[in-house]
Each structure stands twice: as structure tokens, then as C-alpha cells.
Amino acid sequence: MKRNALVFVALFVAILAMLASGKYLDRTRKHGPLKLVGNVQGVQAPDFSLPSLDGRKVKLSDFRGKAVLLNFWATWCPPCKVEMPWFADLQKQYGQDGLVVLGVAMDDSEPATIAKFASEMGVNYQVLLGTNKVSDDYGDVQYLPTTFYIARDGTIVDKMTGLLGRKDIEDAVKKTLNANYKPASVPLNQADATMKQAVAAKGVSPRGASR
């Protein structure tokens, strides 16, 4: 009787393993290995190079040293529309502190249509044309809007899916701006000297220093 139970358990585990591996293989066959799944906080944000609406190539790594709000959206997504004026306001409010908002349009529409829509929404930040690859790299972004908050050193501070309140977004922006930044390529003494020169030239305290 005990032996039968053991055989049954072994068979059950084998079937589960087959189901799980089948599902994984199906996903990887369709999309390649998913890179950002589960808890993504602290994970390095995958770099990308995407065309902007004006035809330039924009890389995430171009913004190293800035806090990046990376918003996946589409023109056919009504909840995405609600957030866009908020992002424009936040770009205006926190741009001087180092915030860069990037919109990634996951859309089949023509760039001119996307540009017109973005303009009507009051968008004052860069809009990039998304691809399946960038969606896959960011964990198969299917649910729009999805927003990643990326610290100045390129690590992900937070990921938010679905429409949230403006306060939640602003809190995430502040958290991202204040996330620990460890410049990898510039020695601290050099960064300090550059900062002192900038302060001396402008005669003002850098924003954020008094916070």
C-alpha cells in the first residue's frame, strides 16, 4: 500500500514537472527567456535603444546619472491617458532634480498618430516607439500602463502596473530621485570638484542639497 502511494506521488511529481517545463518552453519559444520577472526591485534595468518620434535612437544608458520614469503605454489604452498629464507635470516639477520621463508607446499606430496623441495629452517628455524585444526584456509587458522607476545608477527602484493615483506616482518619483547613487565611472573627488565648480559658476546651491 505504501509502495503504491510512493509510486503515485512520483508519477504526480513527474507530471507536474512536465507541465511546468512545457509551459516554460512554450513561453521561451515565443518570447525568448524572460529577463524581468517577479520582484524586480534592485535589478539592473535592461538597456535598450529605441527610436524616438523624431527619428533619433535613444538608449536608456544615455540617462545614467538621472532618475528615469519609464512608462509603457498605448494610444488605445484609456487608463494610460489619465497618467500622461501627471507625468508631464512631474517632468516639469522634478526635471531640475534629475528626473527624466520616457514614454514607450506599445502601439501599431503610425508615429505621426502617436505624436499627435501625445501632443494632445500635453506630453513634454520623450516618447519612444516600443518593440516586442523591449517588452520581453522588461518581463513581457502586457498590462498597460506599466511604469518602471529607475535610479540614477540604473537599478530598478519600483514597478507599478495599472493606473494608480498621482500621489503614488509622485512618491515613487521622490523615492527614485533619492535612491542611493554610486557613480561607477567618475571618482568621488572628481564629481565633488565638478559639483563645486558648477555651484561657483551659478552662485546657487544645487537643488536637492537642502532636502
Partner: protein
């Protein structure tokens, strides 16, 4: 005997839960099975195709209020002996949602039916009609990319 059944039953339940999780990416719209449609040669018949939308979702109607929104569209085709003469979509419901309370969207939610007017040719036989329903679904806070589900039925033409 009860103890003997407990283990298989628990495992069956567990498998069911796992399978349900595995199907989490299934489309939020399903089509009801369509029986074999019997028709006389040369006749026309309206075939009702019933769809059900998951309880938390809505999809755009066939005529959404903005050209940027993706309409629900059914495409069907059959062999030469069966033609789809017309598709009758239901009117959308004008609804507003928490993400934009001041804006009305024309949507389908719950169950809806599209009537396909099928015209039979003169040759008797059983013919497949195949196609897909394309839709774009949202819930109260987010949207999914457009998806399609297969729709098919058989038409038997008799003399």
C-alpha cells in the same frame, strides 16, 4: 478507504489550482460552442455566435467612440458553397469607468451576441466556417493588447 482517497484528492485539487494559474494568460473573452448549422441549399440563415467576457473586463464595441480605440471585429470565411452575407453586431453600452469618470466609452461587457447571416450554395455537403474575433480588453485600471480568439462552426447544406 477514506485515508486512501485523501492523498489523490488533495493532489487533484492542487493540480487544478496549478492549471488554473497556468491559464492565467488566457484571453478574457470566450465563444460558446456552436452546433452544426443545418441549411437548405440556396437558403440564408442567421447564426447566433455567443461570446462571454470575463467579469472584470470590458472590450470596445464594434464602433468605439474614438478612432484610436480598437473595435471588436469578427472575421469569418468558408468554402465557396457557404458565404457570410452579413455580420450584425450589437450596439455598445455607453459606460464610464473609474479611470475616467467623465468620459463615456462604447463597450461590450458580460455576454454579447453577433449574428452571422450565412448563405448556402446549391451543392449539398458539410462545410467548415472559420475565423476569429479580434478585441481589445481593459479592466478598471489597465488594458491588454489586442488579441484574437478562433471562431468556427460547420454548416450542413441539404437539398
Amino acid at each position: 478507504m477514506r485515508r486512501g482517497l485523501a492523498l489523490p484528492l488533495a493532489m487533484l485539487l492542487f493540480t487544478g489550482v496549478l492549471l488554473a494559474q497556468g491559464f492565467g494568460d488566457k484571453p478574457p473573452v470566450a465563444v460558446a460552442p456552436i452546433g452544426n448549422v443545418q441549411m437548405k441549399a440556396g437558403a440564408s440563415k442567421s447564426v447566433s455566435l455567443d461570446f462571454r467576457i470575463g467579469s472584470e473586463f470590458h472590450i470596445n464595441s464594434h464602433v468605439p467612440k474614438s478612432p484610436l480605440l480598437i473595435p471588436t471585429v469578427l472575421k469569418l470565411s468558408g468554402p465557396e458553397q457557404v458565404t457570410i452575407a452579413d455580420l450584425k453586431y450589437p450596439a455598445g453600452q455607453d459606460m464610464s469607468f473609474s479611470f475616467s469618470p467623465d468620459e463615456k466609452l462604447s463597450v461590450y461587457s458580460g455576454d454579447f451576441t453577433i449574428d452571422a447571416v450565412v448563405k448556402a450554395g446549391t451543392a449539398a455537403g458539410t462545410y467548415p466556417v472559420k475565423g476569429e474575433l479580434r478585441f481589445q480588453a481593459c479592466d478598471h485600471s489597465a488594458c491588454f493588447p489586442p488579441r484574437s480568439i478562433p471562431v468556427q462552426f460547420q454548416v450542413t447544406v441539404v437539398k
